[in-house]
Every structure is written in C-alpha cells, then in structure tokens.
C-alpha cells in the first residue's frame, strides 16, 4: 500500500511538471497517441471505402474553419469595416469551443473524483439534473435583471448537480455503499425523472417533450451575432479549471482530498476525515457536472429536451483519464474532443463518414495514452521514463 502511495506521489510530481520541467515528456505521449489514433481512424475509413484525406480535410475545416475564408473575411473587414464575412468564417472555430465547454466541466467533475479515489460514473445524471434545474429557474422566474437572474440560474444548476452527486458520496462515506453502483442508479433515476418532468410539469406545450425557453435575462451572453453561439460559458469553464487546480494543489483541503485518494488508510491515521472528504468531493464533482448541463442550456440551447445529455457523462470519464486527472490536462483533452466532435459534423456531411468514427478514434487514443509502452514501442522512444499507469482505484476500498 505504501508503495502505491509513494509511486502515486511520484506520478503527481510528473503530472505537475506541466507547468515547469519536462513539458516534452508530459506532452509527447498524448500527442503521439492522438496522431496514432487519427492514423488508425484513417485506416478504418479507408477500409470502409472512404477517402481519409478528404475526410480529415473536412474535419479540419469543420473544427477550425477554412483558412482562406478567414483571410478573405479579414480583408473584407479591413477594407470595408463589414464583419459579416469574418464572423461567418469564425463559425467553425467558435463552435468547437462551444462544444468543448460542457466537456471541460464534465471532465473536471470526473477528474476531481479520481483525485479522491472516487469513480463518478454519475456525471451524466448530474449533467441532466443540473440542466433541468437551471432551465427551471431560467424560464419560471420572470422580470429579474440579468445580473441577478443569470447567477441564480447558474447556481441552481450547480446545486442540482451537487445534490445528485452528494447522495452517492454520502452513502459511500456513511454506509460504504459503492459509489459506482449508486452513481449508475442515480443516472437512471435522473433519466426517468427528466422523462416525467419533460412530459409533465416542465413541458412547454403538449406536442414536444421540451421545456419552455429560458428568459433572455438568464442566458449566458454571447459575444457575436446570431449564427455564432460562442458565449461566456467557455470562460467560466476555464475559470473553474483554474479554481479546481488551485483547490487541489494549493489548499490544505485539496491536499486532504488527494491524500484520501492516494491512500485512505494513511489519510485516516493522519487524522483526516474521510466522510467529510468523500461528501465534499462528490458535492463539488456533482456541481461541476451540473454546470456542464447548465452551460449547455443557458449558453447554447436555451431549453432542455429528451436525450439532451448525449453521452457527455461517459465521454467525461475518457477526458479525465486523457488529462491524467489534472485540471489543465482536462482542459486540453476537452478542447481536443470539442474540435473532433465539432469537426466530425462537417466530415459527415461532406465526406459521408458517420460521426461515430470519432468515438473509434477516442477509444484508440485512450488505449495509447493508458499504455504508453505501445507508443514507445511503435515510435522507438527509449528516453521516456516509465510512467505510473494506475490512475483509478478500481472499485475503491
């Protein structure tokens, strides 16, 4: 046990090294993993009878925008002061950031759980509940100024998710009931609850199972005119990433959380309160996942419908793993997912390749990140240190 703890320490030092020291080593495996994943994804495309080069060109154009369009837009803007063309050319890039926003929140949620040795499979349910709570506050309260209404709606979303996360946390801490089972159960309860709410109390009209639109005063402000949905949510997500980093690595409480995660027995003997830490972490993790749903509702959709969450909670597990449970790593991997997902829509319409290819690539990338030995072997890299690969704590103890 003590061995695991010390190797865990070592791992943390290397992953903290993103800020200083061995940047190359911290990034080279993920980068090569992503490249290898893309190459293998291309092979799958080729085998299924599509042209991978055309597909990746479409993916790139769909996620970053076409460079010629952007230059053209800039020229028109400087020549005439008309920014319509420029805004249109920026659409793909900003849309990728919009897609990445809930990923950042949800990834942080799972990563925070991992740091405390908790496996939060419930981000999906927390996401949904957060979305529903913020939508409710967003549409039901009328006539408030934005400065009050928007924070209130955000808070409602965070609290909804937090409660949903805290219940399994408390059950785990108090009764030892397994958080993996309970978060899965809470997911299903959330899905059913939302089915009921969307076809009953929260339904906007009798025809579609969707909530009414939120009031304009509860919408996250957008930075550009209409087709561009880029909004404040992205920066709130970045702020929270920094906040979680600060919490985990710069505060006593964060140290406790990491200690409990690394070795609960040792933490207990050191006088740390396991119950408090579990509940606290699941509360925060739930709040983050709730904010993921909230950001999607208040920033992008403005209403909630059935099947709203579209697998964010499960992708979040992948994100946390990809980012090695480090907040900044999560942001980077969320951006990657955002660009891939957003670009894939374009790829689907232009190259006729199903959007699901992205999941294939994601799965491969995770394998390579988790097994750096494969990457080292493939690219004959010898100098890299053998990384500690135990990220999670299994079913926990």
């Amino acid at each position: 046990m003590s061995q695991t703890a010390s190797s865990k320490e070592k791992k943390e030092q290397t992953s903290e090294g993103i800020g200083g020291g061995s940047l190359r080593e911290a990034l080279i495996v993920p980068a090569l993993a992503v490249i290898t994943g893309l190459i293998l994804g291309g092979i799958v495309m080729a085998l299924s009878g599509s042209n991978p080069f055309q597909a990746y060109a479409a993916l790139f154009a769909g996620s970053f925008g076409s460079p010629t369009d952007i230059i053209n837009g800039l020229q028109i803007y400087f020549a005439t002061g008309d920014n319509a063309e420029l805004v249109r050319s920026m659409y793909p890039f900003t849309e990728s950031l919009v897609t990445a926003t809930p990923y950042i929140f949800a990834g942080l949620s799972v990563a925070l759980g991992f740091r405390a040795g908790l496996f939060n499979i419930g981000a999906e349910g927390q996401f949904f509940i957060g979305a529903l709570c913020s939508a409710f506050v967003g549409y039901s309260i009328k006539g408030l100024p934005m400065i009050i209404h928007l924070p209130l709606a955000l808070l409602a979303g965070a609290l909804g998710g937090a409660v949903w996360g805290m219940i399994p946390g408390y059950l785990k801490a108090r009764f030892g009931a397994h958080e993996v089972v309970n978060t899965i159960m809470m997911n299903w309860i959330a899905f059913r609850l939302s089915d009921w709410l969307l076809t009953g109390p929260m339904q906007a009209s009798n025809f579609r199972p969707v909530t009414p639109n939120v009031q304009a005063s509860a919408e996250l402000p957008r930075f550009f005119e209409d087709p561009l949905r880029f909004n404040l949510g992205f920066f709130i997500a970045l702020f929270f990433a920094y906040f979680i980093y600060w919490f985990l690595f710069k505060t006593t409480l964060g140290f406790e959380v990491r200690s409990v995660g690394a070795n609960p027995d040792a933490a207990k003997y050191a006088g740390m309160n396991i119950i408090k830490n579990f509940v606290l972490v699941m509360f925060m993790a739930g709040a983050l996942a709730g904010l993921a749903g909230t950001a999607q509702v208040l920033g992008v959709d403005h209403w909630v419908g059935q099947g709203f969450s579209a697998g964010y909670g499960f992708d979040a597990i992948a994100l946390a793993l990809l980012g090695k449970s480090h907040p900044f790593g999560v942001v980077l991997s969320a951006l990657l997912f955002g660009f891939l997902r957003s670009g894939a829509t374009n790829m689907q319409s232009i190259a006729g390749i199903p959007i699901d290819i992205i999941s294939i690539i994601q799965g491969l990338v995770i394998v390579f990140i988790a097994a750096p030995a494969i990457i080292r072997w493939l690219y004959r890299i010898r100098s890299l240190k053998i990384e500690e690969t135990v990220l999670t704590r299994g079913w926990g103890k």
């Binding site: 046990m1 089972v181 997911n187 390749i353 199903p354 994601q362």
Partner: protein, 419 residues
C-alpha cells in the same frame, strides 16, 4: 481491505432494531398506499396461464383485494414485531418477506377489478434479466481473478452486432452465436493483454473498450447496415425450446422451461460457474489470484495465465450476452441497443457480492422491475410510469445502503501483478 468480522453486540442490537422498524414502517406504508385505496368488495384476478404455452391450464387466481392486502400487512407487522423482540437470524429472509409483501400488495392494489397475468410477468422477468445476468457473470468471473472488466457494455454491443451480421450472412443463428462468443473472447483477450502485459489501468482499458465499441458499432451500422437491412441485419431469432414434461407444469413451466437457448445457457452458466468457483481446484486458484496473487504465485499458481483464462472466458460470456440482444430477442441490430445493461450488470455483480448466484438474483430484481413497468402501463396505474421505472434503482440504493452495506471486492481487484 480490513475484512474483519468482529461481532459487536451493540451493532447487532442496532441492526436488529433498525430491521424491525423497517418492517413495521413497510406495514404502515402498505396500508397508507394500497390498503386505504382498495375498495371493500374489489377482486383481483391473477392470470396464471400464458397464451401459446404448453403448460396444463389452471384456474386463474381470484382473490379479494382488500383482504389480501390486510393479510400482507399482518404478515409484515408480525415479522417486524418478532424481529424487534427476538431477532431473526437470516437477513435474506427478512428482505424477502419485505419485498414480497410490498410487491404483492402493490400488484393486488394495482390490478383490483382487473386481470393481471402473473405468469407472463415472471416469464418476461427471467428473459429481461438474462443480458444483465450475463454481464454480471462476466464481471464475477474476471474480477474473481482481480481483473475489472468495465468494458462489458462495449463487448456486448460489438458481439450483438457481430452475431446478427454473421447469422444473417450465413443464414445460421448458431454460427452467429459462436461468432459472438469468439469475438467476446477476442476483445476480452485484448483487454487482458493491455492490463496484464502493459499494466494499463483496468478501468481505463474498459472505458476505452466501451467508447470504441459504441463508436465502432454505430459506425458500421450507419455506414453499412442501414442501407442493407435485409442482407446484413435481419437474422430472425432463436426458437423457443419447450422442455418436454417440465414445460407442462403450470406457472413454472412457461417461466423456466419455455425459453430460447440463451436463457437456458444463462441458467446453466450460473450454476456451473458457482460450482467451478467454489468447489474445484481451478476455482480455488482463481480466488487465490484475486485475493492474494503473491501467495498464489508462491504456491505455484500461474497468476498471469489464470488471469488471461478468466478474462477471456468472461469475455465469451459477455459475447453470449451480446448475442441475446440481437439473435436472442429482436433479430436485428440497433445503435446503442444495450442501453446501459452492461453497467446494470456490474451493479448486479457488486450487489450480489461477486457471487454468481447472488449476481443472478440481483439481475432478476432488475429484470422483474423492467417487466413490471411494461405490464403496469397496460393496467393504467394512476402513478406516472416513470416513477415505477425508477423504483428498482431506488430500491437497489436502499438495499445497498441498509442491507448489503460494504460490498467487499476481491482484495487484489484492479491491481496489476508484478512478480
């Protein structure tokens, strides 16, 4: 990790009282929910014959609703009082009584003045429990050797698709079934290779399999299957096999002995795996590898080989589970059709304390709840069906909290082994 079972008289007493109180409260709840709302003269008809079954027909069970509910209340209150005063040793018995009285009163109330086919519901519970049970068995087998296989959902998706495509192309369901089982073993072998050879985090590898499986099957589905349903994705399903004589028994016959091959195989597997794990040298080695690999190694057990074998076998079971979704029930593949059943199977495994029979019993609870919800929608019960659908999940959480409590996995579960 500290798996000591010291009997603490204080805790025992507290447990006794809390169980007793729970039973008494259940009695009150049954009265408030169902007793009050049942008309005095109402009768509930429970159908015992299944349409198209070979069982000898029997008369339907017609009972006076109110009397039956009051009888249930009497039973639960009596057992509760006895528990408070003297204590019943078997907690399983208590939970059984609690669940039975509650569900029985609920059904009597819901179906008052109507007819409710009991046999049909039992039979469909068993069928719906099958994929969950197979996922749970997959977990049991691999985790007893200390390898977590969270990728069961992904394996089931891939094998479900493989089963239907192979069966459609070859026009032979059994070849489809074998293909699914082999593919399940292959994917699991890859998982084993990653976690044993490369010491990849087991949950990470499992998550990767899930994401890859979801992506790959959806990709194949939208690229090939949707445009060629008849030639690739339309296999038909396994026929119902009625076991001679046994299928003639009323109620039990249609439930247990009129099923398709996958349901039978599941029942057999539960028993076989239980015997293998607990009564054979192989099982002892497997459990030793799961609890204390170093000690097992010292005694000459090949830890790596045991893990490979167990994980591959577990993947084959997941493959059988995958085949159930397509060639075992609907005869075609739909995107993401496993719908979280793999994860529920993992919950059933933990709920059943890593024990094949326990896991199967837990799966039955989920299967029962699943089929109950469908039947109740037909009865038009004045409760939103969404809340009924939630019930099994809430019940699982309550039971997990109050009854099972600390589910203790095999001690080395999830840890790579280094010589």
């Amino acid at each position: 990790m500290t798996n000591t079972t010291i009997i603490n008289p204080e805790a025992e007493k507290r447990k006794r009282i809390s169980y007793g109180m729970t039973l008494l409260v259940t009695g009150i709840l049954i009265y408030l929910f169902f007793g009050v709302n049942t008309q005095a003269g109402a009768q509930t008809t429970f159908g015992l014959n299944l349409l198209g079954s070979q069982a000898i027909p029997v008369a339907d069970l017609i009972i006076p609703a109110q009397t039956a509910i009051y009888l249930m209340i009497t039973i639960v209150v009596f057992v509760g009082a006895y528990q408070l005063a003297r204590g019943v040793r078997s907690t399983g018995l208590l939970i059984g009584i609690l669940a039975f009285t509650f569900v029985a009163s609920f059904l009597t109330w819901a179906a008052q003045d109507k007819s409710f086919n009991l046999t049909g519901m039992l039979s469909s519970s068993l069928v719906r429990a099958t994929p969950i049970a197979l996922a749970a068995l997959c977990g049991v087998l691999s985790e007893r050797a200390a390898v977590i296989n969270i990728g069961v959902e992904g394996i089931m998706l891939m094998t479900a698709q493989a089963a239907v495509v192979v069966a459609t192309v070859t026009q032979n369901l059994y070849i489809g079934l074998i293909a699914a089982i082999l593919l399940g073993g292959l994917v699991a072998a890859f998982h084993a290779f990653l976690v044993i050879r490369f010491k990849v985090d087991q949950i990470v590898s499992g998550v990767a399999i899930n994401i890859f499986g979801a992506g790959f099957t959806s990709f194949i589905s939208s690229k090939f299957l949707q445009s060629a349903t008849d030639t690739l994705n339309n296999s038909g399903t396994f026929p119902i096999i009625s076991i001679p004589l046994l299928s003639k028994i009323p109620v039990i016959g249609p439930t247990l002995f009129e099923n398709n091959i996958i349901v039978y195989l599941t029942l057999i597997l539960v028993i076989v795996i239980h015997i293998l794990l607990f009564y054979t040298p192989w099982g002892l080695r497997t459990r030793a590898v799961g609890e204390h690999p170093k000690a097992a190694d010292t005694l000459g057990v090949n830890v790596y080989l045991t893990r490979y074998v167990n994980v591959i076998l577990s993947g084959m079971i997941a493959g059988l589970g995958g085949a159930y979704f397509t060639i075992g029930s609907v005869g075609r593949f739909d995107e993401l059709m496993t719908a979280g059943k793999g994860f529920i199977g993992l919950a059933a495994m933990i709920f059943g304390k890593w024990n094949p029979i326990g896991a199967y019993a837990s799966s039955l609870i989920f299967g029962f709840a699943d089929s109950l919800q469908v039947k109740l929608q037909i009865l038009r019960v004045p409760i939103p069906s969404e809340f009924l659908l939630m019930a099994p999940y809430i019940v699982t959480m309550i039971i997990l909290t109050g009854v099972v409590g600390r589910a203790i996995p095999p001690a080395a579960d999830g840890q790579p082994y280094e010589k």
